[in-house]
Symmetry: C3
Subunit: 316 residues, 3 copies
């Protein structure tokens, strides 16, 4: 998409040479053919180091933009970013793509739908009513139970099992809100990647990234009815018990255990080998590995037990 078209959609002036913009990305990751944006005050300091070809900013930050990057000055950068995100969204399905490739030994139900451009590995079992979207890739020996939906561009590794009615790659919960309280969708143009030996229960939702990938690493075990927000990263062999969840962009180390109905806020980092008791509510990052926590607000499990003692006393 031409930068001049973007400027025209956003109704802002463009005083520099036109260039082709291939995609959108974060301030940190965008390259010279990508568009980025700043809406959160805490990232303003990073503007001057961006490698992006263009940036959507408010007037007050325009002068921080380096010379290599074209500033598109708008009133509400987040809203404008939402508006433009739609133009970078790929087609949901695309008839111009090549026929799906199915690996040797794979058994695909005639009642499954494998979209054009998808690639299925060897010795997979894909049951009725499964959907594998455009350009999705499924590894070898993977089992998709009935009514599993894998959205376009998602990648599932080898030796994975996904139970019935789980969804891999639905849109992350992203939208801008204007001062009338109206929302505008931020198209989620990233994907989900499951590495090898991952097992996912039934009725699980794993959202695709807004940019880049939501990552589920090797050996992860996810129980039923679990929510994984966009851009999360779940470390190797981590375990999510039923009805637990994480808001977006939280990074879990390896062998983290989330008990039943436990949940984490977004944009946190949880150290490896951390265990959260059932119904823990995590609102801050955990830096030290190997701890066991409980409660909401979260506290060391031992403290939580002490608190229960204090509460018992209160009741006397």
């Amino acid at each position: 998409m031409k930068l001049s078209e973007i400027a025209s959609i956003l109704k802002c002036e463009l005083s520099v040479k036109d260039v082709e913009i291939k995609s959108m990305n974060t301030l940190k990751d965008a390259n010279s053919s990508e568009l980025t944006f700043v809406s959160n005050a805490k990232y303003v300091k990073d503007i001057k180091e961006t490698q992006a070809g263009a940036i959507v900013v408010s007037a007050s930050h325009a002068e921080l933009v380096p010379e290599s990057c074209t500033a598109l000055v708008v009133e509400n950068p987040y809203w404008s970013m939402a508006e433009i995100s739609k133009y970078f969204a790929p087609l949901i399905e695309d008839d111009s793509l090549a026929d799906a490739q199915i690996g040797e030994g794979s058994k695909i139900s005639p009642k499954a739908e494998i979209a054009k451009g998808a690639i299925i590995g060897k010795n997979c079992t894909i049951l009725a009513h499964v959907y594998v979207g455009a350009e999705a890739v499924i590894g070898d020996n993977t089992i998709l139970y009935p009514s599993v939906s894998v959205y376009r561009d998602c990648k599932i590794g080898n030796d994975c099992i996904i139970h019935a009615n789980s969804v891999i790659g639905s849109d992350g919960f992203g939208f801008a809100t204007n001062n009338l309280g109206q929302h505008k969708k931020i198209y989620q143009n990233g994907n989900v990647v499951l590495e090898d030996d991952v097992e996912i229960g039934s009725n699980v939702s794993i959202d695709r990234a807004v940019f880049g990938s939501t990552m589920i690493k090797t050996g992860v075990r996810i129980d039923n009815l679990v929510q994984i927000g966009h851009n999360c990263e779940i470390g190797e062999y981590s375990v999510f018990v039923a009805q637990s969840g994480s808001a977006g962009s939280t990074k879990f180390g390896r062998n983290v255990v989330m008990g039943g109905q436990a949940a984490t806020a977004g944009h946190l980092e949880i150290a490896s080998f951390t265990t959260m008791a059932a119904r823990s509510g995590v609102t801050k990052s955990i830096k030290e590995s190997g701890g066991t926590f409980a409660g909401f607000p979260l506290m060391p499990h031992r403290t939580w037990l002490k608190l229960q003692g204090r509460i018992a006393k209160l009741l006397k």
Copy 2:
């Protein structure tokens, strides 16, 4: 259905002229061709003003029934209402209905099922394994991702997006219980209405109304794994974060935010622009708009922070 048949099913005497009863409705909304009931003491005072053609009541309330309305006197009105509700349930699918109508420019997967009597607007995208039930109506430009199920009679507006494996219009959780502890289903003969520009995540459940409609108004955003009970009304631009939910008949104003795993009891009213922090538990109505709340039992967010301070002290 003849009133005499209803009386006969309920084994109660009918001393008046027979009339045709077209449907069931609430005490407040029923008209002269409708049947209603009273089982909850708090509505007894409204009996004398009902416009209903007939009412299922216990003997102790029979004399409050106005002359225009026929009293069907039974031992357990709620149980009898459940028994009769079945007779007013429409067929799940109905081969006598007209063929589904599909608007210009809409792309319907051959692996989707559009039941007879359904109407699909223009430029919709309906992917594989979607189900659109009898007499359901889908507006223009709406996207239904794989394995979305829209039950009969439900209405989805224009420019809506519903993510994979979500269910619009499953039965509300309604049943009568007798003194042996057995349950009898109350058929849920209402529907769900989504207005325009609504986005629903994956694995969401929105139940149909027992009578009337469960309403999701313009611009609402619902994340994954959310529960909306029967007869709820979600106001414009309200936001439900993942794994939150509401029991039945609660009315939310506009721009209400329900944080992750937050939940409300049934039959409440939540004022516009109210924000509930993650995991709030709401058991009382909120009359004043614009507040921010947290905790279970619910309290102002500021009070909740103070409470955490007090708890920290307890632990010293």
Copy 3:
């Protein structure tokens, strides 16, 4: 499967006559043609009474094994049991089974998938995109709404209703973990049994048993988005409100009520006629029937109300 093959897979010596092992089972239930295991210290005392044909044990417990039972001595019995469980898993689908049998008067959507070996009773309604697995049995007059998935070997009774996108029989969340933190799947070779007159909401997950059956007894009512772990037993007429759940192997008496988002830990017993308020967290068995509880940790509902009073005081 020959005992000698099992010994060879587990790399342990076999000094006795070879026998045919037909399946795996618990220490308590295994018979002379079954293999069992002990990994939990609390069951060590039961080893000497096992009727199993063979047992996977650590060296330290080998001498407790009775003469009628062959000890397979391994380093990590739970891990070895996981390894062997795979060999007893039936095929997901099996083309050698007889064609599905459909009872008189049943209406099956051509877009449903009824696997070979399945049996459907009379007057059932099975809508589009439903999956009924190998050797599953569905009773009479049962309704399966769109995209319901019933895994192989599960049994659904008469007069049941299962709402859209619910899953009956996905694998229980079972795996062994080694000292590198890696997981090995324990194949879930049991099933789920729903007795008669059970109604299940939408997007519900009920896991199959590892051995034996997960039981949902007559008249149970389960709302949307509920989790039932493997080997649970839900007593007659019990009620699970939306987003509630139970970890594995918990046994509920009759007419237990689990409020919205309430949850129980695994391996508990909950007495009949117990009521849990919304969001109760149950970590201990409840022996006396008829109580009402709330909170997490759980307490009598009256105590919980008192606690709220104490907390209000704290805030003054």
